[in-house]
């Protein structure tokens, strides 16, 4: 039943896309389209969440489409339902936001038909139950988002970003295609049901694992394949950026889980190692890069990479546990991963919405031109602050809950028998801890530079609050962040069916625990209660405030800032985004980012100005992407002269081909 509703919602989205295609040029079609998308997403959300919470058994549908002798298989199980919930939350929020935001779009007809198609593609990936349908939906998703990245196509940068993105998307699709090719076998049993039937040999399993890592990782932004992501995500309109970062990367995570946990058969312990290592490195690298960006949306995109890293690390841990038959621990790690995926969808969407609001209010994405927006955009600043706190893993918000679960899972890893894992797990734990601390710094920087301080440009000084729809979307997501953080137990229980189906275990029932605490393993071991912490903090803060205001003075006087006795007029004397990052850059940047500083200090008496130049290198770009591109260019240049030969030389090619074949024939028998 829920499956039918989900499929119908996909169909509805496609219909909306078609209608939008026909009517997009008719002017004010935008709000209508987005409202329709919102409604459909909510319906899909309702259907998926009922299926998930009711823990109902998987349902299947086979449509006579796609590959004729297989047909298009669709299946809705707990895992798919969870990711559908996730996608549709993102979709609903983005649609709500876009009802207002889309008014600022110069060429709406470039967005309207593609946006519903993008949503439909993401939904369909989660529903697909055979390799063909899966990749079909996967590519539709990629293509739609590619075209959406190209909405502002007059900008050279965006075109380049879109190009890199599309090539990487095709690369990931091919990797997954090869993986499915191995799984399906030579006689093409592409239906997932058939694939589940037989487990491949360890060698082939390793091959599939590698391909899945590459394919899903390239789409999700796993280092070192992440380079396209910070180019493409910021280039799209903000509500699309939110979808790409918040929902599409999760669809990639879904692909990894589906292939490795579900299709690949019994888990071996070493499957976890690559995911664990790549995840930890990605987390640290992503957030470090995020700290160095001055473009707001690009910084957010890099922080997406960090969160993907955390998710993959948790997934790797879960694989390792599952391989060693520690089902409960595996379930804990898996829950941590899924929970974090959900949280990331919530706060990253909110953050991109905020960035979009800032963009519409000031027209600037460069943080060095912003500042003091907390006075101009009061509501946005509140929602943005909540999201920043949540993504910085501050209790009692949701980000902390999921990272806390992840750390608890790492604390269980000493029981793993393999030495490599014993050594790897704490190292990754340290990396994740560093990443969390860096993330806090990163978002202090973002919020402090953009919303606090004094405006660094007249646009920022003249900004105005955005429309009610956008605000509603942001506030709603912020509220969800708080809710998921205060009552994590509900989410964990909701996720139980997914873990049952994948690793055959679940975390202990959380609903019955007094005071609504969450207990991963046993209460004596560890427990956390977001609600209680929140009540404590709120109570003590208000008590303190009340007491002081009541018993002591409440007098207040506005005066110029003291600033250690050097009050200065110019806002440019504030700490800038770059200078805020400087200490951290000096500590970490040297190794991770190849950061180099060049100071040209004139000798006393010289009148020329002093110069400071900073170089940052993305190592993956320089050592992975550029060599490949260079190789292709080299080969193309070498081959190109073949277009400019004479007829005689072309004939001689034919001649030599013939002689060669004849010689081969002569030598054959």
């Amino acid at each position: 039943m829920a499956l039918v509703v989900c499929l119908l919602s996909v169909v509805a989205l496609l219909l909306i896309a078609a209608i939008a295609l026909l009517s997009a040029r008719a002017g004010r079609a935008g709000p209508a389209v987005y409202a329709a998308c919102l409604a459909v997403s909510l319906i899909g959300l309702a259907a998926a969440s009922t299926h998930l919470l009711a823990a109902s058994s998987p349902s299947e549908i086979i449509a006579p489409l796609g590959l004729p002798w297989i047909g298009a298989h669709f299946r809705l199980d707990a895992l798919a339902a969870f990711f559908l919930v996730l996608v549709n939350i993102g979709g609903a929020a983005a649609s709500l936001y876009a009802i207002g935001y889309s008014r600022h779009e110069a060429e709406p007809w470039r967005v309207l038909p593609l946006y519903p198609a993008f949503l439909a593609g993401m939904n369909l990936v989660a529903l697909a139950d055979d390799a063909f349908t899966f990749l079909f939906a996967w590519e539709v998703m990629s293509l739609a988002s590619w075209a959406l990245v190209l909405v502002h196509h007059r900008d050279e940068e965006n075109r380049r970003a879109a190009y890199v993105y599309l090539v990487m998307a095709a690369f990931s699709a091919f990797a997954l295609l090869l993986a499915f090719g191995v799984l399906a076998g030579p006689d093409g049993g592409y239906a997932f049901a058939a694939i589940r039937g037989h487990a491949p040999s360890p060698l082939l399993a390793g091959l599939v694992l590698a391909l899945a890592m590459v394919g899903a990782g390239a789409k999700a932004g796993l280092a070192p394949l992440h380079v396209w992501l910070p180019l493409a995500h910021p280039a799209a309109p903000s509500h699309v950026s939110a979808l790409m970062s918040g929902a599409m990367t999760k669809v990639a995570v879904y692909a990894f889980i589906r292939i490795v946990f579900d299709l690949l058969g019994p888990v071996a312990w070493w499957w976890g190692v690559p995911a664990l290592a790549a995840g930890g490195i990605t987390a640290a690298l992503g957030v470090l890069n995020a700290l160095m960006q001055s473009d707001l949306k690009r910084a957010l995109a890099y922080s997406t990479i960090e969160n993907i890293g955390i998710i993959f690390a948790a997934l790797g841990l879960s694989l390792a546990f599952a391989g060693d038959h520690m089902a409960a621990a595996s379930a804990l790690a898996l829950i941590a991963a899924l929970f974090h995926a959900l949280n990331h969808t919530l706060f990253k969407s909110a953050l991109f919405f905020g960035a979009g609001a800032v963009l519409t209010a000031t027209g600037a994405r460069d943080m060095e031109r912003l500042g003091g927006l907390i006075h101009r955009l009061p509501t946005t600043s509140v929602a943005f602050l909540v999201a920043c706190a949540a993504i910085s893993a501050l209790p009692p918000l949701n980000g902390f809950a999921s990272e806390w679960l992840a750390l608890q899972a790492i604390l269980l890893s000493p029981d793993l028998p393999q030495w490599s894992l014993k050594l790897l797990a704490p190292a990754i734990g340290a990396l994740i801890a560093v990443a969390a601390a860096l993330a806090a710094a990163c978002f202090v920087r973002i919020y402090g530079i953009v919303f606090l301080g004094r405006p660094r440009s007249p646009e920022a000084a003249a900004a105005h609050e955005v429309d009610a729809w956008s605000l509603a979307a942001m506030i709603g997501l912020a509220a969800l962040c708080a809710l998921a953080g205060l009552l994590p137990g509900l989410v964990i229980d909701g996720l139980a069916p997914a873990t049952w189906s994948l690793v055959g275990a679940r975390m202990p029932e959380q609903a019955g625990i007094p005071w609504l605490s969450i207990v991963p393993v046993a209460e004596s071991r560890s427990s956390y209660n977001g609600l209680l912490v929140f009540v404590f903090v709120a109570a003590s803060a208000s008590i303190a405030a009340f007491a002081i205001h009541r018993l002591a003075s409440r007098a207040l006087r506005r005066a110029p800032a003291w600033d250690c006795g050097f009050p200065d007029a110019s806002p440019l004397t504030q700490y800038s985004a770059a200078s805020f990052a400087q200490p951290i850059r000096r500590v970490f940047g040297g190794y991770a980012l190849g950061a180099r500083e060049f100071v040209d200090m004139p000798a006393p008496g010289e009148i020329r100005p002093a110069r400071f130049r900073l170089e940052l290198h993305d190592l993956a770009w320089e050592h992975l992407y550029q060599p490949v591109a260079g190789a292709v260019a080299f080969a193309a240049d070498r081959l190109n002269p073949l277009q400019f030969r004479t007829i005689r030389q072309y004939l001689s090619f034919v001649f030599f081909a013939l002689v060669l074949l004849l010689v081969i024939l002569a030598l054959w028998a």
Partner: protein, 220 residues
């Protein structure tokens, strides 16, 4: 099938191969054309002989076409072309004659090895014919790729075609030989016309193929 028939057919086929070598050896256009005419004559003779021993009257048509069209019309026309377009008379070679001859010998050896190995089932006469025909084809192609100017390339192509006709005639009882030879003659005729009338002249002051190639698809 008595020995005489076999020997004669063998002899004529061998003549064609020999003449192909002679063509490779030529360095003057007129001489080249004459040798080609000679080869055409040899071809028509051998086809006619095949017609006689196979008792296949339709092959006489092919022989006639070969004689009239390729031994007389085409060479004459090409003489006129050379004269009209004032092509300098010597054949411009890419590879000098010596290596070309060696390569040719290698090709003949190759074709004989290939063909004799594979045609054990066929009767000996056909085997010889096919082997020689293949070597004529290969030599013609060799000529096309080692000669620079269009006339000699056309000649090379026509000698390829001679080889094919030889093979077709040699294949006992093969249908459609006439149609095929006619079709081929059309092809050849078009090539010659292409060189002569068909716009080449009005566009290029030489039929040196290199000049045709100066425009190389795209300007660099």
């Amino acid at each position: 099938m008595d020995a005489l028939a076999f020997d004669l057919a063998h002899l004529l086929a061998g003549c064609l191969v020999l003449l192909s070598f002679t063509m490779l050896y030529q360095d003057r256009l007129y001489a080249l054309l004459n040798v080609f005419a000679l080869q055409a004559v040899a071809l028509s003779l051998s086809v006619a002989w095949q017609a006689w021993i196979q008792g296949a009257p339709h092959l006489y048509v092919t022989a006639a076409i070969a004689l009239v069209f390729k031994a007389i019309i085409i060479p004459v026309t090409l003489h006129r072309v050379v004269a009209k377009l004032g092509i300098h008379r010597e054949v411009e070679t890419v590879v000098s004659v010596g290596p070309t001859m060696l390569a040719g010998i290698g090709l003949v050896a190759l074709s004989i090895v290939v063909m004799l190995r594979v045609t054990v089932a066929a009767d000996p006469l056909a085997r010889e014919d096919i082997a020689f025909a293949l070597s004529v084809v290969l030599l013609g192609l060799l000529m096309m790729i080692t000669r620079r100017n269009a006339v000699s390339q056309v000649v090379g192509f026509m000698s390829i075609e001679n080889g094919l006709i030889l093979a077709a005639a040699g294949a006992k009882g093969m249908p459609l030989v006439v149609e095929i030879s006619v079709a081929f003659s059309v092809l050849v005729a078009l090539i010659v016309i292409g060189v002569f009338l068909f716009r080449i002249r009005e566009r290029f002051d030489t039929v040196d193929v290199a000049a045709l190639d100066r425009f190389q698809g795209e300007r660099r």
